[in-house]
Assembly symmetry: C2
Homo-oligomer: 90 residues x 2
């Protein structure tokens, strides 16, 4: 039980960091109303990849992988929507 908790700690720390990492990007994009330097192809491939991680997390019953990728998906989808909407306004 303690061994499992120790492993989960790194999983949750990893999940926390790679999830909250996209909040500063979302805030910056919202503030500057610009995401020209952010690659559209990257966002699309990354979002499809996150969906695959969610399926993988379900299959191996990994809560850290599930939680991390669902929230990361929401943030990146928001960045994608902002990027497209700001581009249309130009």
């Amino acid at each position: 039980m303690n061994h499992l908790n120790y492993i989960d700690f790194f999983g949750f720390l990893a999940a926390l960091l790679t999830t909250i990492a996209f909040l500063p990007q979302l805030y910056k994009t919202w503030q500057t109303k610009s995401a020209d330097d952010v690659s559209l192809v990257m966002l699309i491939l990354f979002i499809i990849g996150l969906l695959c991680w969610i399926i993988y997390g379900l299959k191996i019953n990994s809560i850290p992988i599930l939680v991390a990728n669902i929230i990361t998906f929401i943030f990146n989808f928001s960045i994608l929507v902002l990027k497209i909407s700001y581009r249309k306004n130009k």
Copy 2:
């Protein structure tokens, strides 16, 4: 064995997509010599998070998590180096 291979397929597909996703970003940053819209805080938090995923992947013996995060680390570290170097040149 077949069951394991089926699960690993999603893991490897997820790994492939969330890894190659950063190649277009690296290429775009290299071509435009600009990454002003890419958040520095995001890159730093994401890179530290990737290191934690690598530790987690080792602990749960997940090859897809390990491979994905090591390559993603290399790409994002390169984007960070380019961003800092282009900012200094301005």
